[in-house]
Symmetry: C2
């Protein structure tokens, strides 16, 4: 796979240097780690740390912002951040009100964030943890706590960030983030693999194949099929999403169509169109639509559909002003 | 090439339906054409229309916003919009102060926008035209007016949009947009081709090849080489950019690193890092950095580097509040 890199061993530090060159006026690096925090933290607020392995940019580093994350604790490529890394970020963002950890539910992340929480406790910093489990394909409904976190991370992290910014206390930030997660469902389909620099493609798919439910690190999905017309694929994905929560007539939802890395806007729009038609048919109201690359696996092609059901509290938080590097911003805007 | 599409003949109308589903509260479609305008136009301002062929999303449709474009006149995939299409958009955005047309310098676009300008004149609407010619590789310096417009479109359109929003008159909007174009230079390198749905890849490149200067429709570049380390590629691109204007010690510049479609953030950051190092060495100050997909050719991999040199007027306009669909926004923010 051809890429703009120098030595494959240098991609992570060189990437971090690029981010610091682009956003060094508002973020600073945590020494020794590929982790960053906002420079200008509002006093008296609960801190929000998001994290996981690198290589899925824009997540996690670009999720920093106001009404979004205060810190991103990132490990090496596709590797969980170490407990020391997480602790260092925790100390940097704590303002005496405690810190919430939000991350996708992967065993390495769970272990290391839990260890960091213990270390933080020894230092007198209270923490709370929310594991994102939006990937419907990754485990059956009676084992939701085994599900992986994928693009739904965005909604859960956004809600938590809004709550922190609004002055919620630690317990309440955890409560609304758990609620956001409980109301968020994602289904993905992979078309072509991603390739970590210096490695082979993470998986192989035939010239005419797709894999429904494949994870963002190439984890096996639930079915490999011949590729079908977009509407047929979306119909299958939406059926699984809608039945799982279940979403019902009268619900208000936010939609996120993620591109994984190499998927065109044209394809995302064709998907958004079909999802909208299906929601109309079900009597479900589309409150907001986001699209683009939110959680990628290098140049992987494919897409995921995420729905978050809103209640009044989630809607108010979601609609509150924010900014995030993810949206190329350094100042407040409304995103609804 | 596997894609999320239905019938290749339907991709354009289905894409438009998707955009209208996602942003229908703020944009409306111009009947019969894949063109859109902002619903809420500020009275008494010069109108800004950007345009060209479809298939390069997010440009042009997502360039709509405040302090950005009022209308996007888009043709079929890789085809110029018709004069009638452009005229319809012109009538929709004119508020009695005239309309500025900004587009990349391609023969079909030039011909059709010029014809539309004549038709608009017959209807009593004054127009002015700015053709973006940022692509250093597309013609030598003594024939700048033959150069193509690529990712530099963003800077020229942003400056013009800011000027329209600030209340500049038609002549003055054209003046600053021409100035922005005259101070903008881009060099691109392609690694893999893009594929229009239903067609073959637009060009072929060997497994270990890159083409320096290749255009956004696969137009031939200036040299095909074995792929090299990122820093070496960037050094060659930057040499051509810096010498062409030329950029000099003491200059303030904005940088845009475009991803073409399938290029990872990791690669963009490695490029930003190297560009920053070279600018430091030259004594040139980086005023702002943008990165991501701004002008794509489907799932093409590669990248372009664009620099715009700022004077006080351009800096003030560039830094003024704005919002654009491109940044996922529906409300003002500062982008510096």
């Amino acid at each position: 796979m051809k890429k703009f890199i120098n030595d494959p061993n240098d991609v992570l530090p060189e990437m971090m240097e690029g981010y610091l060159r682009a956003y060094g006026d508002i973020i600073e690096r945590i020494e020794d780690y590929p982790s960053v925090v906002l420079k200008d933290l509002d006093p008296g607020k609960v801190g929000l740390i998001v994290g996981g392995g690198s290589g899925h940019e824009p997540i996690f580093i670009e999720y920093l912002g106001k009404g979004m994350a205060d810190g991103a604790s990132q490990g090496n490529i596709c590797a969980a951040p170490s407990p020391d890394n997480i602790l260092a970020v925790t100390k940097a963002v704590d303002r005496g009100k405690g810190v919430v950890y939000i991350y996708g539910n992967y065993s390495g992340d769970c272990m290391n964030f839990d260890m960091a929480a213990e270390l933080a406790d020894l230092e007198g910093i209270k923490t709370a943890t929310v594991r994102v489990t939006d990937d419907v394909a990754s485990a059956p409904k009676d084992r939701i706590s085994d599900r992986r976190g994928i693009a739904g991370d965005f909604f859960v992290m956004r809600i938590a960030g809004a709550a922190c910014y609004a002055g919620y206390d630690l317990e309440d930030v955890k409560r609304v983030a758990d609620k956001a997660n409980a109301n968020t469902r994602t289904m993905g389909v992979a078309l072509t693999p991603g390739t970590i620099p210096g490695e082979k493609p993470a998986f192989t798919l035939g010239e005419d194949e797709m894999e429904i439910g494949m994870g963002l690190h190439g984890e096996p999905g639930i079915r490999r099929d011949k590729i079908q017309p977009a509407d047929k694929i979306v119909d299958q994905m939406m059926k699984m999403i809608l039945e799982d929560l279940p979403f019902k007539k009268g619900d208000d939802v936010c939609l996120l169509v993620d591109g994984f890395g190499a998927t065109t806007r044209m394809e995302m729009m064709i998907i958004i169109r079909r999802v909208s038609q299906l929601l109309d048919k079900e009597g479900i109201t589309l409150h907001d639509v986001k699209f683009g690359n939110f959680a990628t696996f290098q140049e992987m092609a494919g897409s995921s559909i995420t729905l978050m059901r809103l209640d009044d509290e989630l809607k108010k938080l979601y609609d509150s002003p924010m900014w995030s590097i993810l949206f190329g911003q350094k100042g407040f805007s409304t995103h609804k």
